[in-house]
């Protein structure tokens, strides 16, 4: 090598294979995050505002325009009752966002509380409480959560709140385990010993030194649970158990459109399905903002 070339800066590592690079690019690409945020910034206000500005549009049936394909008048077409699919999909999305956000928040709150309590009791010398709580987690996990969710909705009757309850009560176990495991590991670190030796109370150690360390993980888990909860709501509605029939729901719309698909009317099933996929990708894309940064060394 000539003197000039060895003194020039060059990459320390050879470029990884194309597939690895592509995956990394999408994973931490700013474009992907920006697109996700833009999609959410359009869909979220639209889903909230459109049904609010015209409350009857989503349920307004027009027998003369049944299954009309996408056109200037009905941009996404109409369904079997002649209802406009754009307005109806947005109204259904509003329900989805509501259920997704509230259910994820409630599930994470329950999970963090149970997980933190379990981990804290271990360090307080009350391991029996931890054992009890974790066996409860095992018990909930032992039942397939869609089945448990169906049972809860069936007991409470179809409504927004019963769907939220059903999802929250079946999904708090994941954040509970996550928080407990993280906290147990943090509790073993030196700075916790230092805090105890420095005279901090158990409560203070847990609340000020340990819990904040797991907050970012819990937040990420909560955000990633939003699309999960949205799918659950759709699944329950698809089964005819979730929302009351008059409330638009993506799952119920797809269920209704099943027959139409076989008749060649693809649009009543396509748009709610697309909305479901787009929202899921956008939320998890935006969640990349919360991911831990690339490790320096």
């Amino acid at each position: 090598m000539s003197e000039a070339s060895t003194l020039a800066w060059r990459p320390a590592h050879q470029r990884p294979p194309l597939l690895v690079r592509a995956r990394e690019r999408v994973g931490r690409s700013r474009t992907a995050i920006a697109v996700s945020l833009v999609v959410l910034a359009v869909l979220l206000p639209a889903a909230v505002l459109v049904p609010w500005l015209d409350p009857t549009a989503a349920t307004h049936a027009d027998i003369t325009a049944v299954y009309s394909p996408p056109s200037a008048e009905h941009v996404l077409g109409t369904d079997g009752a002649g209802r406009d699919l754009l307005v109806r999909t947005l109204a259904a999305l509003r329900t989805s966002f509501l259920v997704g956000l509230v259910a994820a928040a409630v599930a994470t709150l329950i999970g963090v509380t149970v997980g933190a309590l379990a981990a804290a009791t271990v360090s307080w010398g009350r391991g029996a409480v931890d054992q009890l709580l974790m066996r409860l987690v095992d018990a909930v996990n032992a039942v397939p959560h869609l089945v448990l969710g169906v049972v809860i909705v069936a007991m409470l009757g179809p409504s927004v709140s019963s769907v939220i309850t059903s999802i929250a009560l079946t999904h708090w176990t994941t954040p509970a385990r996550l928080v407990r495991a993280e906290m147990l590991s943090v509790q073993g670190r030196d700075f916790v010993d230092v805090a105890i030796v420095g005279g901090a109370s158990r409560w203070r150690v847990t609340m000020r030194h340990v819990l904040p360390q797991v907050a970012s993980r819990a937040l990420l888990a909560a955000v990633l649970m939003v699309p999960h909860a949205i799918w659950h709501e759709s699944a329950l509605s698809f089964l005819g158990l979730g929302m009351p029939p008059h409330l638009p729901s993506l799952g119920a719309m797809i269920q209704d459109a099943q027959v139409a698909v076989f008749a060649g009317h693809w649009w009543p099933a396509f748009w709610p399905g697309l909305a479901l996929v787009v929202v899921t990708l956008a939320v998890s894309g935006a969640a990349a903002l919360l991911r831990p940064r690339e490790r320096a060394l």
Binding site: W9, R10, A12
Partner: protein, 352 residues
């Protein structure tokens, strides 16, 4: 020492990308070489770039780091091609790891997985080196015998072993592949006198078996006792390098002289000031200029290159414009020109 070096590092630089698109310079110009049978000690303050140098040699820099300069491994024995360690493909590097280059990490306890027995980890190492099931078993036993690690402890988990036992198992794992170059990161940090001596003896034995050993340390005494050669790093530059008796006995760089003056037996006179926070110091001159007692205008204007130290053969090299003036002083390890910094007793306070 006229044998061909196993590792030759010339003008090694490294920089890491910053979020704002700029770069963070961590190594500016590091140069040294190690021959078979030699121990080289790389010494310097925390932040001088000692560990970064190892990281660069091992190919473990962060993903988008950049390097410059040269680091060439010449495997001893005829017929083996020299290998440039910078910019190797992952595949070639893997072929080299464990076989060509071994790394003794800082602290043996953290280098072993806590969830598996030491035996299974040693066997895994042997398998990774390409041994079959049966020969892996043989290689593991041979390595245990060489490093005095107890065979009956193979079924234990790391937390069930003492620090000394762990060290022996970690050594056995690292050196199983019979590498020609051993890199040790702070091998004696945090060890008691006894264990430090054992570790030093082990490294010496590695060199005596014909390997080239590179020890990164801030323990000058270890460098004096163990090393054949020394490279002194300051702010990402090699400022002085050569046979350890020469460099540590007749320092020709004021920084080396200051490090020696800070040793307890030389009066415990720590150098005033702080090392530069960023290696990319502002004025293109000598990185040590701001703390140097011998500084002149030229030092701030012109970066001194490594050159043969005055009054030595070419093997002892220094990067100081004023090496001649240092040499003119009495040839002792207490250099002239270093002001005796007064170490103030700790101010009162505390209840004890």
């Amino acid at each position: 020492m006229t044998r061909r070096p196993v590792l030759e590092v010339r003008d090694l630089g490294a920089r890491l990308p910053r979020r704002d698109g700029g770069h963070h310079l961590v190594l500016h110009g590091v140069s040294f070489s190690v021959a078979p049978g030699e121990v080289l000690a790389v010494v310097g303050e925390s932040g001088a770039g000692k560990t970064m140098t190892l990281t660069a040699l091992l190919g473990l820099l962060p993903a988008r780091a950049e390097v410059r300069g040269e680091a060439v491994l010449h495997p001893p024995g005829s017929g083996s091609e020299p290998v440039s360690l910078l910019g190797l493909s992952e595949r070639d590097r893997r072929r080299l790891r464990g076989r060509g280059i071994a790394h003794l990490p800082q602290g043996a306890a953290t280098a072993l997985t806590p969830v598996r027995t030491v035996g299974s980890q040693l066997r895994e190492t042997a398998r990774a080196l390409g041994h079959g099931r049966a020969s892996a078993e043989r290689v593991v036993r041979a390595a245990l015998a060489r490093f005095g690690a107890e065979e009956e402890l193979l079924g234990r988990y790391p937390h069930q072993l003492s620090g000394g036992q762990l060290q022996r198992f970690a050594n056995a794992a690292a050196l199983m592949g019979d590498p020609c170059l051993v890199l040790a990161d702070e091998p004696t940090a945090g060890l008691d006198e006894d264990r430090a001596a054992t570790t030093a003896a082990e490294l010496r034995r590695q060199a005596d078996e014909g390997r080239a050993v590179l020890v990164v340390t801030h323990d000058l005494r270890l460098a004096e006792d163990l090393a054949d050669r020394v490279a002194v790093l300051y702010a990402g530059h090699t400022v002085e390098t050569g046979p350890s008796a020469r460099v540590l006995g007749h320092p020709r760089h004021p920084y080396t002289a200051a490090l020696l003056a800070a040793l307890p037996r030389h009066g415990l006179r720590p150098l005033a000031g702080e090392p530069p926070q960023a290696v990319g110091h502002v004025h293109g001159g000598c990185p040590f200029a701001d703390r140097c007692p011998l500084v002149v205008d030229r030092c701030r204007a012109e970066l001194p290159a490594l050159r043969p130290a005055p009054g030595s053969d070419g093997d002892h090299r220094t990067a100081c414009h004023r090496a001649e003036d240092l040499a003119a002083g009495p040839a002792t390890s207490r250099p002239t020109g270093i002001p005796a910094t007064v170490v103030a007793p700790p101010a009162g306070g505390g209840t004890c």
